[in-house]
Subunit: 350 residues, 2 copies
Amino acid sequence: MKTATMQDVAQLAGVSMMTVSRVISNEAKVRDKTRDKVMAAIEELDYQPNLSARSLASAKSHLIALFYQNPSEGYVGQLLIGALSKSQSRGYNLVVSSLNETTDDVETALKALVRRNKIEGIILPPPLSDSQRVLDILMALNIPAVRISPQRDDHPFPFVCMDEAQAAFDITEHLITQGHRKVGFIQGHPDHSGSHLRYEGYKRALEKHHIDIRDDYIQQGLFTYRSGFQAAVNLVTLADPPTAIFASSDDMAAATISAAQKHRLQVPGMLSVVGFDDAPIASAIWPALTTVRQPVREMAERATDLLIDALKKKPDTEQKRETPPEQNLENILEYQLMLRETVAATKVTS
Amino acid sequence: MKTATMQDVAQLAGVSMMTVSRVISNEAKVRDKTRDKVMAAIEELDYQPNLSARSLASAKSHLIALFYQNPSEGYVGQLLIGALSKSQSRGYNLVVSSLNETTDDVETALKALVRRNKIEGIILPPPLSDSQRVLDILMALNIPAVRISPQRDDHPFPFVCMDEAQAAFDITEHLITQGHRKVGFIQGHPDHSGSHLRYEGYKRALEKHHIDIRDDYIQQGLFTYRSGFQAAVNLVTLADPPTAIFASSDDMAAATISAAQKHRLQVPGMLSVVGFDDAPIASAIWPALTTVRQPVREMAERATDLLIDALKKKPDTEQKRETPPEQNLENILEYQLMLRETVAATKVTS
DNA sequence: CTGAAAGCGCTTACAG
DNA sequence: CTGAAAGCGCTTACAG
């Protein structure tokens, strides 16, 4: 009838509550045999620890926060789903709050939130992950934080990301493999971390295949549909236009398709187009866009894991603040090439 | 230094903890003067109740759940932000879980989740809000639930929604006001609640302005870009084509713009287009789409409020399960007409 | 490696 | 309308 309590487990296993607690927290040494008995009892009773009791006794809130600043709705959604599911499964609760760097008094807002809610750690998605202000305040508050897809990797806070340059390289090479040697590129907003990395990947792919990089094939965009449209028009109206275009974002790729259609260039028959992000628009439009999927949800899960690991290690002694983040490969996640309908092989054999 | 506790407040106010508790929960009668003293003490100490202690003492989890089933990422995002902020501000925690009706064993999954996590109430966004299975199981479990934008309003569970028919009426009338008398309509998926309501609104607007409803101006779509594209082509290639098209979703409206452009119809100069939803695509494309914004986030907030109200009232006696939901106007939220760039006045004066 | 005691900060009855 | 007592289910020291 009633849910099993730790007391019940202890009784059934024939040990003290203390031992059960130790088995669950997995921290102190317990004899294997004792552990097995306890595990069996937990299993039999379908015991679920009471998180409220745990928080109260340990004087910890078990609360972590995710702050976001006007990214796209789809992006926050994925972020929240990932962070929420992981924090729940690890016994933490998540508070979510938007934080506008330009209008809010970030310092006061941050301090108030952390103090009042007793927040133990913070997840920072872009662009907050690159905000020097926010990073500084958090350092001063001495509260652990983990960053998602930051531009700079020279900060002590750990981070998770994906290899954007490599992804850009891969999708460019996919175009080249299909026979394209005239590949246009539409850059993203110069202030955004991804823009440079994606351009980097594009360049490397061309170099690897001994294709000259033509300045007129590279157009500046701003990640928006509108900017992409103009850039694409510039590209397709060239005297010697590219046969394929890599736009640094899906919005710009969608615009490229519109621009092509407007100029009577069938996609992908006469022009291949690829994007980046796998935003909703990528599968909404027709033909569906070939693009790169960022594992946003997984990044949020990994970030949450990292943060909770840090909270469990650090027993509130403030050590190793100076040590660089142990950035191991596990925190660089896999992207995925979404091969859909906007790429075709060139007609002419090279 | 340390955060204030209820004991501190009681001491400062010169009363017992019990009185402080009563002031906070706002449930029992407290003399005004006493209340004021307590409030002042709370203020001075910046006291924040410890939610863990409260949950433990009251034997309540203070946990509500939101289940979702593959809606668009943007939609879940807004939903989560709304539900999360509201539940936090009211001292509840939110667990979020996806629930796939077709592949999961819904009954087992639901029961396990509710039992193990001690979930007190549930928020059901569409299409789960119309799932007879899920509704039945929740009724059997005797757990309060609130629905968002359900199709059927004959169920005992309360709901929040917006007046889709009225919104469709308004945006159609906006077209008519601009001089359009030849207004095409692209219907949504026949299974989806919104489709019929939106068609209803379209029809009412035409009727009000004494415009005949022409069968050839009404095309069936499925909410997808692709289906909208075909429907739009059918419309613009008519011998006597409409001068404006109302597509029941933004994806279909975006497709309509593409189709128009393909047929050398400038938007909005030669064809006005409006959509419904205010999805990300609406402001991504160019020209930016005139459409109706659903207040998804506000709906989630309201739903959360409704649910928590129900939890606080019902002291676990299971009464009034038979009474119809008190569906007052507060639970029908305001939509917003997003007047952007895809509507122009007709050249010819009527 | 294991246990007995105390206490975390509230709320629930129960009195008055 | 207000209060004193007990207890929610854990974890933190402290012993052994």
